[in-house]
Symmetry: C2
Subunit: 282 residues, 2 copies
């Protein structure tokens, strides 16, 4: 396994590999890997000749009051996990290498896709995501890139960007990986106290509750959201940031459930903000 | 010579060519080709195995009151000129192919580089340029791309974008090509009436005048700009949009001439806005 920090070196290496006819799969991560990340790596391993995993905590996707400084990092552990998955390359640049002081270019998906959900609560977040992903795509030039469904809005935004800017890269969405009690795996789960960790299982229960109501033919999004709120309120430490039901492709709020919808939520437990979602087809 | 309209087809073709080890040179144009464009094509021909020339009048780099509708087009003549230069591929997509209705992604170089000069007079212009150039770069994935120095600010902005987003493409700047009387070649010269065409030679005279003053040790940018204004005022049909002297790398206005400067101007002749510039090293 090769560990590369320099963007130029990573680009040169990947281009040379590509020229030998190898298919390249990229898994972009912010490190502190869990089974969700590893499921992406395994899929990339199965579908490509060269598997590149990037580890980079991207400062420009964090807001000024967010958790950039405390975001968990453990490169040693990450590299052991990736070696065990037969990863070929870890690309782990520094902030200075990715954003030299003179850097001023941004890639932005405008319009409704980035306006709602996390976009409304985290101004500039998706601009930071699309900019860094563009850079990673240009450095690695993968044939395929793997993203988890947990960041549902991110996935749709990146698919839009790839189409709009003609990247010519297959975006492979992968299902959410959950703990046995239903909590979606997230690097941020480590922030949770034992009590908060227990309380956080309410997210998946609320999503399952919503799914059950849709399956029993409730069609009012407002009614479902209100009952999800009630479920979450049973946990005193939980504070809802948003609960929304949007159409699965355009991410616009729906009044009545029809076709495939995305039920998405963000909830604070103490200072820790967790997101989760479920796609449901009426 | 292959003429391709479809972005997907162009991307597939170029990727296959690249995989055979061919070096690819791209010359992005808006068509209505003149000797300036052809000098780029010749340089690309000399340095690459596959020469791709794009012809696309990019609507998103035109302001609402600008000349998008009247911009000159002559694909028949362009393709004859390009065939004579041994061009391999003309990529000539439609607006609908480049910007389907759902397209919402933009690439933007923020900050001082795009604030002054043409950026100040044409809001959104450079965002349109960097977006379309990103798309062309992703479709063709050239090793080298060729741009004329006449669009001096565009060249610096694209160099910045390529570095910031890690495109890994060599940007090759090519000198301005001029008519025998000094007028910089431009597709927009065809808008000029015979009188305006004659008057437009004043641009190069004003630039030469400025260069002579710098060479004779005048160091005040304001003084040089004022005397350029006087030269241009001798032509009644000329109306100055801007005359600026900026440092050649950061495009920021200088008070005193030192090191390499860019003398840049934009002047209207009737409704036609022409730009020109000269780099001068004190």
């Amino acid at each position: 396994m090769r560990i590369i920090a320099s963007p130029v070196e990573a680009q040169t290496y990947c281009a040379a590999q590509r020229e030998t006819g190898k298919q390249i799969g990229l898994v972009p991560t912010m490190g502190y890997l869990h089974e969700g990340h590893l499921s992406l790596v395994r899929q990339a391993r199965a579908e490509n000749d060269l598997v590149v995993v990037s580890i980079f905590v991207n400062p420009i996707q964090f807001g000024p009051s967010e958790d950039l400084a405390s975001y968990p990092r453990d490169f040693e552990r990450d590299s052991q996990l990736l070696a065990a998955e037969d990863t070929d390359v870890i690309f782990a640049p520094t902030v200075e290498q990715m954003y030299p002081p003179e850097s001023v270019t941004f890639v932005e998906v405008t319009g409704d896709l980035t306006k709602g959900l996390c976009g409304a609560r985290r101004p500039g977040h998706f601009r930071g995501v699309t900019t860094v992903v563009s850079k990673l795509f240009n450095i690695v030039r993968p044939h395929r890139a793997y993203f988890g469904q947990k960041d549902a809005q991110q996935l749709v935004v990146i698919q839009r960007m790839v189409a709009d800017l003609n990247f010519g890269i297959d975006i492979v969405p992968m299902p959410i990986v959950r703990e046995p009690d239903g909590l979606a795996m997230s690097s941020r789960n480590r922030y949770l106290s034992p009590d908060e960790r227990q309380a956080a299982t309410v997210l998946y229960r609320a999503l399952q509750h919503a799914k059950a109501r849709i399956k029993s033919s409730v069609r009012s999004a407002a009614e479902i959201i209100a009952s999800m709120q009630s479920v979450i309120n049973q946990e005193k430490s939980a504070k809802v940031d948003y609960i929304e039901i949007v159409d699965a492709n355009h991410l616009q709020p729906v009044g009545a459930i029809r076709g495939e919808v995305l039920i998405a939520l963000a909830v604070y437990f103490g200072k820790t903000r967790l997101i989760d979602n479920l796609r449901v087809d009426e």
